[in-house]
């Protein structure tokens, strides 16, 4: 694993509002990393720091070992970026735009370009200005991957795509991971899609990193317990530190805990109850990830 991006005490302010607040983060790859967070929490701002479009007010953002203000040709030819709001040159056709952007990079894989044009169903003769938002996203994706970037950044790349195209795209990202040994950072609200392919998850809330962990570890440690007491009512409240949320009613309770088999056993023993654990998927976990402390 090598480090592709590092943020140290990264702070960014706009009009007096602090969007990123002392972020400390390291992205290592090859891997697929999911960047999650609510609207306006700073995901896009962070991604723009990675690409060097934004400069930090305080702290540092280092991509491929180079600070963001010094990012140059050598680093940027290895980065692919799919922005959330795609703005391309409207007067060109898809084909011309692809030709134009291909001259930015030393190597352009026309085979991959054709494969994607076919699989995402994009017509090369359409005018970019007339493309629907979904097709614009498709074009933006093709523009970002055909030069085999080592670091691929996708900011809400699937929001306008239909389910079939979405699943094709996610499959393709797995290919990119393997073929190019790329580090892929994907920021998306569609957690179901993200969950299928990411191995690492970073969660940002209100400018701070609240989670930075391997997805499997999170799944194993964040569980919902259904508690059943066969011997009388349960106490009014459970005071174990690892309990994040509790709902108690008579002889039953529903707890959300941060723990695993060991905690479960000791809990059952301590309170003379039976517990049925239910694992939580990413969408279930999301509100908890926002609360912080998952690193």
């Amino acid at each position: 694993m090598r480090s592709v991006f590092e943020a140290r005490n990264l702070t960014k302010r706009f009009n007096g509002k602090t969007v990123l607040d002392g972020i400390n983060l390291e992205l290592k790859g090859p891997a697929i990393i999911g960047l999650l967070g609510r609207n306006g929490c700073g995901k896009t701002t962070l991604i723009r720091h990675i690409t060097g479009l934004y400069l930090p007010n305080e702290g540092t953002a280092t991509t491929f070992g180079t600070p963001s203000e010094k990012l140059g040709h050598a680093e940027l030819v290895d980065i692919g970026f799919v922005p959330q709001e795609v703005q391309l040159l409207d007067w060109m056709t898809v084909e011309q735009h692809l030709e134009y952007v291909s001259s930015f990079y030393p190597e352009w894989d026309t085979g991959r370009q054709q494969q994607l044009l076919d699989s995402l169903e994009l017509n090369i003769d359409d005018l970019v200005g007339n493309l629907s938002s979904g097709n614009l996203q498709k074009l933006a994706i093709i523009l970002a991957v055909c030069h085999h970037p080592k670091f691929l950044l996708l900011d809400e790349p699937v929001s306008d795509l239909d389910p079939i195209v979405r699943s094709k795209l996610l499959q393709f990202l797995l290919e990119v991971l393997q073929e190019d040994e790329a580090t892929i950072l994907i920021s998306s609200h569609v957690l179901r899609d993200v969950e299928k392919i990411v191995d690492h998850v970073i969660c940002i809330d209100e400018g701070q990193v609240t989670a930075d962990a391997v997805l499997d570890d999170l799944k194993e440690n964040l569980v919902e317990w259904t508690v059943h007491s066969s011997a009388g009512n349960l106490p009014d409240v459970f005071s174990e530190a690892y309990i994040l949320e509790q709902e108690i009613s008579g002889r039953q309770a529903r707890l959300v805990v941060r723990g695993n088999a060991g905690e479960l056993e000791s809990f059952c023993a301590a309170h003379s109850v039976e517990v049925t654990p239910r694992p939580l998927n990413l969408e279930d976990m999301f509100p908890w990830l926002l609360r912080g402390g998952w690193s």
Partner: protein, 125 residues
């Protein structure tokens, strides 16, 4: 080889793969010497991250279920009778645990519960 994984179930995908492969070995669907699909092809087949699959394979390899041969695909390892048996029983225990919890919650007598289980085992399809 057919595996069914649900990325949205909350159970880590690598664990699902490990459990299913263990089961397939224990139930004879996979026999010693059978080749396991490569990380890449299984990733393409299931649409999941190849690193997840590598993780599963590594775990199974460390448990002695799979064997790595230099330059060749992973194969199912022939296991000793004792370890085969203990593996099967471990899987069975894991499957029965929730049932046991339910039985305890309903205050069913152990002997009655075992009787139910025996009847189910003896049932003809």
């Amino acid at each position: 080889m057919i595996l069914v994984v649900d990325a949205h179930s909350g159970i880590p995908v690598y664990r699902q793969i490990v459990e299913q492969l263990r089961f397939q070995v224990s139930s004879g669907v996979l026999e010693p010497g059978d080749e396991i699909p490569s990380t890449r092809s299984l990733s393409a087949q299931l649409g999941i991250n190849p690193m997840t699959i590598s993780k599963a394979y590594a775990l199974l390899e460390s448990e002695g279920v799979l064997e790595r041969r230099p330059g060749l695909p992973l194969v199912v390892r022939r296991q000793g009778r004792a370890s085969e048996r203990s593996s099967k029983l471990e899987q069975l225990e894991h499957a029965l645990r929730p049932v046991a919890v339910k039985a305890k919650q309903m205050n069913v007598e152990s002997s009655e519960a075992v009787e139910v289980f025996r009847r189910l085992l003896d049932e003809e399809d």
